[in-house]
Amino acid sequence: MTAKVVAATGNEAVANALRQVNPDVSAAYPITPATDIMQRFTSFVSDGKVKTEMILVESEHSAMSGCIGASAAGGRVMTATSSQGLALMWEELFIASGTRLPIVMALVNRALSAPLNIHGDHSDGMGARDCGWIQLWSENAQEAYDNTIQAFRIAEHMDIRLPVMVCLDGFIISHSIERIEYIDDDAVSKLVGEYKQLNPLLDLEHPVSYGPLILPDYYMEYRKAHAEVMSKVPGIVLDVAKDFEKISGRKYGLFEEYRLDDAEIGLVILNSAAGTSKDVIDSFREKGIKAGLLKPRLFRPFPYDEIGNALKHLKAICVLDRADAFGGSYGPLFIDIAASLYPHKNGPALINKIYGLGGRDYMPSHAELVLNELVEIAKTGKVKMIKEYIAVRE
């Protein structure tokens, strides 16, 4: 198992993973901060390092449309986008998942307009959480690289056949240089394997029709079938992770539990801010405070049972959301965490903090503030305010 250690940005790592997977077609449109992935990838195309045929479409809506056409035709397809691009292809996301096409997309998380902001937050991925795609969230460049490779195996599994989006924080991870271990080309090739076709359009012997009109007598059956397939995803994610461990030495689960076993207070947080928080958890542990952290990786489908069981023993939890659900509700991650703890009647007290919107920095001091508040809540059992924005000027 030869690993190549490099210094690379998140986008560079994802582009390299895509190069190693070597898809048949990609249709993509640039948008900050995802552009770099496709720029690097197209330089591989121009130098003949991949067999991928590029479609340099005229909008993100056409990007996903082209991906759908290519995937239905019968081959491996990928793309990358962020924020407004994802928003523009919104109807196509549902069509891709409803048609059960195993497209893989790198989503470089960026805030949604208005106001226009090109920096990292989770509003784009969260806004699309119910479109029927599988979502994997990545803390750092290594995870983004690893998740991208595993995404193809998950998407293309014959029991699944669903599109997968791999999320990574815009600018924070996409543009920051980190230490990354690349797996060698052959090992990735072997892990991902040959693309298996299902009802390809290009099979002239068996002409198929994609995209029928479905009336009230059948629509619900298709949705139930989709829901059923979603229920198989966590098992397959774990299976693929096992295979991935063999070629990388790195373990992956549905989520990461950091010093959670005996924790009394805890943070639930996604992506890069989880990395920042883990250091603060360590410092609190040194002070003798039993703090822990849970970082979801598979966000859709959400592993309610497993996460509920992992968190039920805590006294107080803060769920930090890097996106607000703009309808004046709780943050999206909070809502799912609350639902996962619902069956556990004597579960932990929950609070929700909204942080880091539009690329606002999340500092260790913010984690400290939150953890101190949790210590108080664990002691007194009293919650002052369930939902609060942190690091915002009054």
Partner: protein, 310 residues
């Protein structure tokens, strides 16, 4: 394949759009699709924009298509087919496919002139080897006859009805065929199901050309046009003979009128049988008829000039 181009010979081929579709009785669109598919000697893979044709030919487990076919959404037949065509090229390059397949996108004027214009323009500009066939019935018929940019001047539709203040569509039709020709694609043409041989010849020619091709085909809709159920061929013939819908092609920038009516009929011959133009015959709308005739004459004149057939 040098079989003579006669209906008799064509009738020996299998029609790859079956009966049992749910297009209205007397609809022009399935006639067009039938002719386009019969014209091809190659296997076809098709994409279809949302609209009458798509919704009526593939419902639940019933599909009238005997060729591989994909419907994605309303505005992206061209983008979707770009994806299919690119996957074909990729797999062919990898040696995984060796057949010669042709790609045809079908879209109504709704999914082509308006919401689909961007994806059509993009696909044509990128040079995909595909033919886009627009079946132009002059309105968003599937959702109940709403106005599109292809709706003729003065036509009554449900979103620009002829009322007491506004008399139908105030804008003239958008000339999409010219817009497509301006993309400098190798082949652009207009056709009509009434002139089947002209239509079939054009499709055959298009399929032999490598690169993006566009054909705009007039598709009478007896519901939206408020005409008789059996009028489709008669009306499309009148459309051609009044020069409302000239039959021409632009090949590598060179215009050619492919059918010059022996006697150019007055536009009212085409308008009279259609209920959507009824209000134009009221005395107070006389100038609208005049305007309309002038528009048609101007366009026909410039087309003849461009073709060098004055």
């Amino acid at each position: 394949m040098a079989t003579p181009l006669t209906l008799k010979e064509l009738s020996k081929k299998e029609i790859l759009l079956t009966s049992g579709h749910r297009m209205c009785s007397g609809c022009g669109a399935p006639i067009i699709v039938k002719m386009v598919l019969l014209a091809s000697d190659y296997p076809i893979v098709a994409a279809n924009a949302t609209g009458c044709l798509e919704v009526s030919t593939c419902i639940s487990d019933y599909t009238a298509w005997k060729i591989p076919w994909i419907h994605n959404a309303f505005e992206n037949a061209a983008a979707t087919l770009s994806g299919v065509e690119t996957m074909y090229r990729s797999l062919k390059k990898q040696g995984k496919i060796d057949k010669d397949i042709k790609f045809i996108a079908f879209g109504g004027d709704g999914g082509t002139y308006d919401i689909g214009l961007q994806s059509l323009s993009g696909a044509m500009e990128r040079g995909h080897d595909m033919l886009y066939v627009c079946y132009d019935n002059g309105a968003y018929m599937n959702t109940g006859i709403q106005r599109s940019s292809a709706t003729p001047y003065g036509a009554d539709t449900t979103t620009c009805p002829a009322g007491s203040v506004i008399q139908g569509k105030p804008q003239p039709r958008k000339n999409l065929t010219k817009i497509m020709a301006a993309h400098d694609i190798p082949y652009t043409a207009q056709a009509s199901p009434s002139h089947w041989m002209d239509l079939v010849k054009k499709v055959k020619k298009a399929l032999e050309i490598k690169g993006p091709k566009f054909m705009n085909i007039l598709s009478p809709c007896n519901r939206g046009w408020r005409s008789k159920t059996d009028d489709a061929i008669q009306l499309s013939k009148l459309a051609v003979e009044t020069c409302y819908w000239p039959l021409y092609e632009i090949e590598n920038g060179v215009s050619k009128v492919t059918f010059k009516p022996k006697e150019k009929k007055p536009l009212v011959d085409f308008l009279k049988p259609q209920g959507r133009f009824k209000h134009l015959f009221a005395p107070e709308n006389e100038n609208m008829l005049k305007n309309f005739q002038e528009m048609v004459d101007k366009e026909w004149g410039s087309l003849l000039k461009a073709s060098g057939t004055e």
